[in-house]
C-alpha cells in the first residue's frame, strides 16, 4: 500500500468534463488502483492534498480560490499536469475575457432576463473573481499538458501508464486533439 503512486485531482474553472472523461477508462480503473491511490480529489472527498506524486488539474484560473488550490497542488505534487483545454488556454470560461468583469456581473445578477432580487453577490466567504480567466501555466510551473475538450479516456490511460511504468509520457498523433 505504501508504495502506491499517489494521485490528486481537482477541477478549477472547469466543468468536470475532464474528470468524467477520466472515469471513462471504465474497468481499467481496477488495474489503475492496483498501482495508484487517490489523495485529494472529487473521487475521495479529501479536502487538502499531502505529498502526492501526480496532480491532475482541470480548468483554468478564474478566482482567488482557484489560485490557492493550484498553489497547494504545486506545493504538494511532484508532477503537475494541466488537463484539458481550459487548464491549457482558459477554454470556454476565458470567453468572458473579452467582456469587462463589471459588465459580466451586471448581466448575470442585475440586468439579465428573469433576474429576481437583483444584487451582485458580495458575501465575504465567496472567492473574488479575477479580472481575466488565465491558463494555469501562467500561475505555477506545469510539467505536462494533456490537450482536449476533454482529453479522451485513452489519453489519461496512456499518460498514467507511461508514468507508472517509468517511461517519459508521450501521446501519439491520434490522441492529440485540441477539441
Amino acid at each position: 500500500m505504501a508504495n502506491k503512486i499517489r494521485v490528486a485531482t481537482t477541477s478549477l474553472a472547469g466543468c468536470f468534463g475532464c474528470h468524467m472523461s477520466f472515469l471513462d477508462i471504465d474497468e481499467r480503473m481496477l488495474q489503475l488502483v492496483e498501482h495508484v491511490e487517490f489523495d485529494r480529489s472529487p473521487i475521495t472527498d479529501i479536502e487538502h492534498c499531502t505529498n502526492c506524486d501526480i496532480g491532475l488539474i482541470e480548468g483554468g484560473v478564474c478566482n482567488s480560490e482557484n489560485v490557492h488550490v493550484l498553489r497547494e497542488f504545486r506545493k504538494n505534487c511532484k508532477i503537475l499536469v494541466a488537463v484539458g483545454a481550459c487548464a491549457i488556454n482558459g477554454g470556454l470560461p476565458a470567453m468572458r475575457n473579452f467582456i469587462p468583469l463589471e459588465e459580466c456581473l451586471n448581466e448575470a445578477y442585475l440586468d439579465g432576463i428573469g433576474v429576481e432580487n437583483a444584487q451582485i453577490p458580495s458575501d465575504p466567504e465567496l472567492p473574488l473573481l479575477l479580472d481575466k480567466v488565465r491558463p494555469i501555466h501562467e500561475v505555477v510551473k506545469i510539467d505536462y499538458f494533456l490537450p482536449g475538450c476533454p482529453p479522451s479516456a485513452d489519453v489519461f490511460w496512456k499518460f498514467l501508464t507511461d508514468l507508472i511504468e517509468g517511461r517519459e509520457p508521450s501521446l501519439p498523433y491520434e490522441l492529440v486533439h485540441y477539441d
Partner: protein, 239 residues
C-alpha cells in the same frame, strides 16, 4: 546533368528558378508552412518553413534553390523553433478549437498537431477582436486571423478583386476589407471566390456549411498535414 541540393543529406533535384520549398515538395519532402500556397506569390511571413541553408536560417518558400546548397529541414532544433512560432501564433490570437467549426480541417491546428505541440508556453494575449457576420454567405472571425495574407493574394491574383488587405503593425496589425463601412457585406466578395476558401484557419468561413462534415471525418483527423500537403500541393506547384 540536372542541378541538385541536399535536404537532410538526401539529394533533391531542382529546376532553375525554383524555391527550396518547390524543389522539396516536388521531391516529396514536407517543409511545414502556413502562409505558403503553391498557387500564389510567396509571402515569407509565417516563418514556419524556416530551414537552415549552409548554416543560415532562411524561409524555404522564398529562398531560391541553388546548386550545392546543404539544407537542414527535419532537425530537432528547427522543430523546436517551429513549435515556438506556432505557440506564438496561438497566443497572439484567440484560438479556441472546441468552439471553432474549422477544427479538424484547420491547418494551424494540424501543423501544431504535427509538431506535437501540447501547450502554449507563452502567456495568452486574449486580444479583443471582432466577428464580421454582415455578409450573407461569407463571414470573418478576426479572432482566428494569423495574417498569412492568403486571402489578400487570392483575391488579387485569382479572383481579380481586391477585397482584403493587412493594415497596422505589431499588436495593431489587422485584416481590412475593401469597403467604406469596413464590413464584408459592402465588398464584392462572393462565396465562390477563392479568397473565401483559402484561409488556413477558421478566420474566413462560408456560412451554412459548418458541420456538414462531422468531426472525426475531417481532413486531419486521420492524416497528418505532411501527407495531406504533399498529396494536394505537389501537382499545384508551377501553375
Amino acid at each position: 546533368m540536372s542541378k541538385s541540393i541536399t535536404i537532410d543529406g538526401n539529394t533533391v533535384p531542382f529546376e532553375e528558378g525554383q524555391t527550396i520549398m518547390e524543389a522539396a515538395t516536388a521531391a516529396g519532402v514536407y517543409i511545414p508552412h502556413l502562409c505558403h500556397h503553391p498557387e500564389f506569390t510567396p509571402h515569407g511571413s509565417c516563418k514556419l518553413c524556416n530551414v537552415k541553408v549552409n548554416g543560415r536560417i532562411c524561409s524555404a518558400c522564398t529562398f531560391p534553390a541553388m546548386e550545392g546548397q546543404q539544407v537542414l529541414n527535419n532537425t530537432q532544433e528547427l522543430t523546436d523553433d517551429r513549435q515556438l512560432i506556432t505557440q506564438m501564433l496561438f497566443v497572439e490570437g484567440n484560438h479556441f478549437c472546441p468552439s471553432c467549426e474549422k477544427t479538424g480541417n484547420c491547418q494551424l491546428q494540424a501543423v501544431a498537431y504535427h509538431l506535437n505541440m501540447l501547450d502554449n508556453h507563452f502567456p495568452l494575449f486574449y486580444p479583443a477582436r471582432k466577428v464580421d457576420a454582415s455578409h450573407a454567405e461569407v463571414m470573418i472571425d478576426h479572432n482566428r486571423c494569423i495574417f498569412c495574407t492568403l486571402c489578400v493574394r487570392a483575391s488579387q491574383q485569382k479572383d481579380g478583386k481586391d477585397v482584403f488587405a493587412i493594415s497596422g503593425r505589431g499588436l495593431n496589425k489587422h485584416l481590412l476589407v475593401n469597403a467604406q463601412s469596413g464590413l464584408l457585406k459592402d465588398t464584392d466578395i462572393e462565396a465562390t471566390d477563392q479568397a473565401a476558401h483559402i484561409c488556413p484557419t477558421g478566420a474566413i468561413l462560408i456560412k451554412h456549411t459548418a458541420y456538414q462534415v462531422p468531426i472525426g471525418e475531417r481532413i486531419y483527423d486521420h492524416k497528418q498535414i505532411d501527407q495531406v500537403s504533399l498529396e494536394t500541393e505537389n501537382s499545384q506547384h508551377g501553375k
